[in-house]
Symmetry: C2
Subunit: 362 residues, 2 copies
């Protein structure tokens, strides 16, 4: 991974935004810029912050992480705080002659900003948004390979689960196959697997429970791996026993919506247009109200990251972006069908990643 290039690119973005210092607090942003891998224990339990200026690259952390920080982020000078970030910054500000510091308004909680403002009297705190996210959104070739490795793993594990699916298997047992299959392969989960059978499939974010899978109902499996920090995220919908006509109809609509989007997505297109490619297919089939979420989202160091492939906050699709294509139809009382693949925006169109061909054709 090109940490040197990323830091240089961030400094360029900072110059354009007229920022002489930036505090990088989101764990994935910290990792992307410095290599420091630690997650945050919780929202109010940071593992550290980067402080980047035109000529300084500091990693501010506490006692617990000082060894990892020095090992993982050799390009950064580690400074340990014992009384919190605020006090250390209050010492560094005069030392470095800082008049203003940018912070990540999408990560720092309200109270933290309030506390910083109080402690750093006389320093202007500038809310920034997306400075690192805008770099992360275009993946380096090494990152695309890392994402494909993560995807290959989850595809292998999900393929195995497909073979094992039987009536009577509890949802949570199926979910456990995913978790254990990933761990046995040296990876982790990107998120708690969703295995939602029958009516549970109508809840896009159902939590697997003791319900037993049956013949003649939808089984939505939304799963992903985390490997070396990089995520994958795919969904397939299974059915045991003879297909019902309704299932065939609903499934075909969702699959057609997905294929239409995968064929139509091009660089330069807006995310709203991309979303509409699939949405129109579903609307035309009369299920428009049953597709209540957006078509997809970016995937990388986070499972959900920009771009949001959505009409709500439209942006432009560009080569090197990786995002999901996941149309769905959810019918309360009946179940749901969601089909999710990952795709790369290329110079000319859209390349679906992975190869798990667990799709029904009727």
């Amino acid at each position: 991974m090109n940490y040197v290039g990323r830091l240089a690119a961030l400094r360029e973005s900072m110059a354009q935004a007229d920022l002489s210092a930036l505090l990088v607090s989101r764990p994935e942003n910290r990792r992307y810029i410095s290599g420091f891998k630690a997650d945050d224990g919780a929202l109010t339990e940071s593992s550290g912050h980067l402080l980047v200026t035109p000529d300084q690259a500091l990693l501010l952390t506490d006692f617990r992480y000082q060894e990892e920080a020095a090992e993982e982020a050799p390009g950064f000078a580690v400074k340990v705080y014992t009384k919190g970030l605020d006090k250390l910054l209050a010492e560094l500000v005069p030392e470095l002659g800082l008049k203003s510091i940018g912070f990540e308004e999408d990560y720092l909680i309200f109270r933290q900003v309030k506390t910083l403002a109080k402690e750093l009297d006389g320093v202007e705190l500038k809310p920034t948004s997306d400075l690192v996210a805008d770099l992360r959104i275009i993946k380096e070739p090494a990152e695309i390979r890392a994402i494909e490795d993560s995807l290959a793993l989850i595809e292998e594990v999900l393929d195995g689960l497909f073979n094992d699916l039987r009536p009577g298997m509890m949802e949570e047992v199926a979910a456990w196959r995913i978790i254990s299959g990933l761990h046995e392969r040296g990876a982790g989960i990107a998120f708690e697997p969703i295995v939602a059978s029958g009516p549970n499939g109508a809840k896009p974010h159902a939590v697997p429970g003791s319900r037993k899978i049956r013949e003649g109902e939808t089984i939505v499996m939304d799963v992903g791996a985390r490997l070396e920090g990089y995520r994958s995220d795919i969904t397939r919908t299974a059915w045991l026993g003879p297909f019902s006509d309704k299932f065939k109809e609903v499934y075909s609509v969702v699959r057609e919506a997905q294929l239409t989007a995968a064929e139509g997505i091009k660089p330069g297109m807006s995310t709203e247009e991309a979303d509409a490619l699939a949405r129109k297919v579903i609307e035309k089939a009369g299920y428009g109200n049953a597709f209540g979420h957006s078509l997809g989202h970016g995937v990388g160091l986070e499972t959900h990251e920009p771009p949001s492939v959505s009409p709500l906050k439209s942006s432009e699709l560009k080569p090197g972006m990786i995002h999901t294509i996941e149309p769905g139809i959810y019918l309360p009382g009946w179940g749901g069908v969601r089909l999710e693949v990952m795709a790369e925006v290329t110079e000319t169109g859209c390349r679906v990643l992975g190869g798990l061909n667990r799709f029904y054709t009727f």
Copy 2:
């Protein structure tokens, strides 16, 4: 769990704080007050918010969670937002005649507060802190039972790992025994297990890797379960082969520090005094600089929650609080010893929970 009583208690706290409406956004707080179990997907991916007024109890969520919300939080009226929380609140504010709304400054990110302020022009947004946390800090008897159930599970699993520890076992394999042992028992992890062997033990938050456990070194295992939302958190330090003198010395100091704290903690004591009970033992033995974290933290719906048993932000210990007692000594290059038990502050003192007696006596 007493949801009706909790909502009434929250309304009383709101009245005392002169708040006519409160937005409850932190997932554990939402769950505590309403029963709605969903986690947030990420910081910027809320599963919902409670809006509590003296006579209204609303659960604002999106399409994905509407079914769970209605099932799990029968005392709340579910309102679904399609264009985000801000727009729904903008509709509700005039309907409910709200002039001000409290928000959780320890959970909402800076940008969200900015956006709300813009969208809810003319409504005063009041930062609040700890309103629900102050209720959660004293556990109901049913909660103490839930925490003890969670603790019993992790103790059983860690006991099994103790029996299985062998030279040559990789740290990550040991960690996986914890994860799988909990899942086989119908529970989940409270946090990624820490298994840190040899020099890795000097990093209080080491991530288990491919390093193989050896004889003659410390093996720090910090593990916890999540069962029905409630967490447990314990640490034991193991040693394979004949004990070294240094290990015996360091271990004895840590254990004495822990027992001294467990015997001395009483309701009415400050967290600073409680921390000092253990810290003095370690300082007296000459290892003061090697105990770089605080003595403990509360445990409940979150792994780390108030009270912080620490000198940094002292508060009063009261009956019904549950917290860890986890002194440690960390020696870079050598390893570490941390011993962590959970305890309840009682009417007269402190009751150590659980019964896993995996402590060495020499």
